[in-house]
Symmetry: C2
Subunit: 313 residues, 2 copies
């Protein structure tokens, strides 16, 4: 049971003494007298029923208890500080805001529902959705301009300092309009895609290297007639109106396929399986609102995923 008599005064005092390893110095920076600090520490020790410092005549040192408690005390004080800060943020800006980076894979499939659900839970939090090349988004995430990026796991060299939470895995698809010449044959020769315009992810896209490997594995070398694009809206329109083949992460076109607007080419893309998830900064602990959004996305992803699995059977 938590002792209600513990006050933040005790914790801040404890933290200061621990930091300075000195009662006198702590008293100085806290602008109170030395006996006051001594007493406050003693009170805290009594409330916790554990000795926090070893006292000597040349300062104080943390006991084992103290070392352990230190972290939690810090976390507790930090949380309250953040709470107070958030209130003033709400007052100033009229609400909290979350900055969210979204990669094409999930922009159309998981995220709309996830954000909708989140907004029912926390309608007063502003969610800013940013799209763009993953390198840019990861950069912004690392700098703190974004709180969260959702999409495929980025290349390892971009992931330093970032943490990844797995949601599900998806493969890359080759899609074309319904009635596409290649689909006439039940088991078409895949190398024939060279005969058509092919829309491929550009150099900086996360899936670019995977796509390259896959093409090589299928004996398709450089594509003579290619368009590089990240724009799913362009890709969708172009693919539906022409005989172009579109190589794109499955998630981006799942609904189009389901609705029959686009058709997947029968090609083995099992090598292109890759993790989709949430990327956050590893330092700077996840704030409660972001955590709520994360939960909403996870929930939606698992719902989404089980639906997909159901459709497959």
């Amino acid at each position: 049971m938590l002792d209600q008599r513990i006050k933040f005064r005790h914790l801040t005092c404890f933290l200061e003494v621990a930091r300075q390893r000195s009662v006198v110095k702590a008293a100085d920076t806290l602008s109170i007298t030395q006996p006051a600090v001594s007493k406050t520490i003693r009170e805290l020790e009594e409330h916790l029923d554990a000795r926090l410092f070893d006292r000597s005549k040349r300062g104080v040192t943390l006991t084992d208890f103290g070392k352990v408690f230190l972290r939690y005390a810090g976390a507790s004080v930090t949380a309250l500080r953040q709470g107070v800060d958030s209130i003033s943020q709400v007052r100033m800006q009229g609400g909290l805001s979350i900055n969210l980076g979204v990669l094409p894979t999930v922009a159309a499939s998981v995220m709309p529902n996830a954000i909708r659900h989140f907004k029912t839970l926390s309608p007063d939090t502003t969610v800013k959705v940013v799209a763009g090349p993953n390198v840019m988004l990861m950069g912004q995430l690392r700098v703190g301009e974004l709180d969260l990026v959702v999409g495929r796991l980025a290349e390892p060299d971009q992931m330093s300092g970032l943490s990844f939470i797995h949601l599900y895995s998806e493969h890359i698809s080759l899609v074309a309009r319904p009635g596409h010449p290649l689909l006439a044959d039940k088991n078409p020769d895949i190398t024939r895609i060279r005969e058509f315009t092919v829309l491929v992810p550009p150099k900086h896209a996360i899936i670019h290297p995977t796509v390259d490997k896959m093409l090589i594995a299928h004996g398709i070398g450089a594509l003579p007639d290619r368009i590089e694009t990240v724009s799913t809206s362009f890709g969708r329109a172009f693919t539906r109106e022409t005989d172009a083949i579109w190589i794109i992460s499955n998630g981006a076109v799942a609904s189009d396929i389901a609705e029959g607007h686009l058709v997947e080419l029968p090609i083995d893309t099992s090598d292109t399986f890759g993790p989709v998830g949430l990327t956050t900064r590893i330092d700077s602990p996840i704030s409660p609102p972001v955590e709520m959004l994360i939960n909403a996305v996870r929930e939606e992803a698992s719902r989404h995923h089980s639906e997909q699995a159901a459709t497959k059977t």
Copy 2:
């Protein structure tokens, strides 16, 4: 600035009222009178200089400020609770303990130093190091028997509910004893490894599928003479004493290669690059001791990595 007059009494009272949406009910469960609760909430509001509840005649509802503050207040109280709990845990067990799963890649390279460093920071925390097949470790992690697993990123289907923190990337190596017949030629025909006993990771190993793909890519089909093993100590001994080829993640044999006990075969394994990092549970927030260990591992990994890079040049 944090108002030192805020006490945990205020927070717990606030949390209870928010939970129950009622001053009367909260007063009941807190075993104090209704005016006492009213007054406590008023005090908190004054200290924060913000209205937390909208009062009506059928209960109270959180204001926008209140909704935001709620999360942080909860976090703050939780942290303190955990702190108090940890103290009694230390008292009972004579110290905190961390249960750590270690995969072969890092067992010999990064972790020894990382744990040594951690133990200088926090000598009183017991670290239990568990090795084993990754499926088992991930299972234990998910159940809570482990706090942390260090190694290669597991297959997506094992990662649900887990979070991955990237440390660095490594590839898979083919190694043999110095003076191995294959090394006589400067650019040996790699398919000739079929002539020797080959030690390969077993089916359940994380790197198994990657190894398979690589073998196929190099035109090496099934290996006639193979030994499947996870044991790096067996692998090391066997490879040094016989003409066997050992296919193993680079990290597991990096020091042996550096010291000249084993030699890497000149084969392109760039396709086998994969992320190595820390895997934790996504729910149940990371406790401060585990966080310290994570930092120690990250530090050691980056030091380790920069050294490797330096050796390459």
